[in-house]
Subunit: 161 residues, 2 copies
């Protein structure tokens, strides 16, 4: 349990207002996110899925991309993210890859599910072994795939992340 | 268990070759993906994380975004994805949101972990309740967040996905 992490209501209000105003914009779903560093907003994002034909353009992913562009980095250590809703597994893992310090969220995945979004269902699916997921999944040519990792291990110029 | 789904070696070879050639390109990690519809390649993607300052630009996400642009849609029903490596939870969930029919992968998350990537670790983290994850996470202002979903429910022009 992570106690005493604070959480600034003004940034969460901003994320929720972005989510609500995005509904009538017609570009996507009711989700907003704000990335903060040292008390300042670095970037914001809203859900752009249907308006931009990008199923990965959730509010958190959009905010992470913009924050990384703004700060010219692929890691957001030292930043927090405020999301109007609990991130789906895609966005949560994007937050982990981006090395954000703290996640704040308002609505829950259950609230999203009640509004018609698959967040809770996808959490259940992702936790299963691939052979038990609804998505038909096949693992083959594993030995061939190792060639790419061998190339990586021996490449002196690799940038690890 | 999903049996008899086939899987075309030529598309997996393409994904693996993209992954291997991406190593020396210097734009990202050793990962490649190919999206196929009716036997034709719709889009390909490689990992662009470090070269483009985008921690979400994994091979699968990149391929999904390009396929959606090419097909002018936010859903890839009727398409399969071939990935040189088992998708991380971000990419797996992107595949679920994109409604792809089938996932084929070669290397496993364990192979990726041995090469220094956090895929397996992130699967473990995503499966935990948020209060037990390493990422400090705070849920607050839940009641305020519901305003965005209420706006969504009453907006006649919403496009569901």
């Amino acid at each position: 349990m992570h106690a005493n992490l604070g959480g600034e209501p003004k940034f969460m209000r901003m994320a929720i207002e972005l989510a609500t105003s995005n509904v009538v914009s017609g570009v996507g779903g009711p989700f907003g996110a704000v990335i903060v560093k040292n008390g300042d907003v670095v970037a914001t994002g809203v859900n752009l899925v249907t308006g931009t034909n990008d199923p990965t353009a959730h509010a958190e992913v959009t905010a992470i991309r913009r924050a990384c562009t703004a700060l010219e980095t692929y890691e957001l250590t030292g930043c927090s993210i405020y999301s109007s809703c609990e991130p789906c597994p895609m966005c949560l893992t994007a937050i982990l890859w981006a090395r954000l310090d703290t996640l704040y969220f308002a609505s829950t995945a259950e609230d999203a599910a009640e509004a018609g979004f698959d967040d809770s269902h996808f959490y259940e699916q992702v936790a299963l072994p691939f052979s038990e997921r609804e998505l038909p999944t096949v693992n083959f040519m594993r030995a061939d795939g190792l060639a790419s990792f061998n190339a990586w291990r021996t490449f002196a110029g690799r940038v690890e992340y």
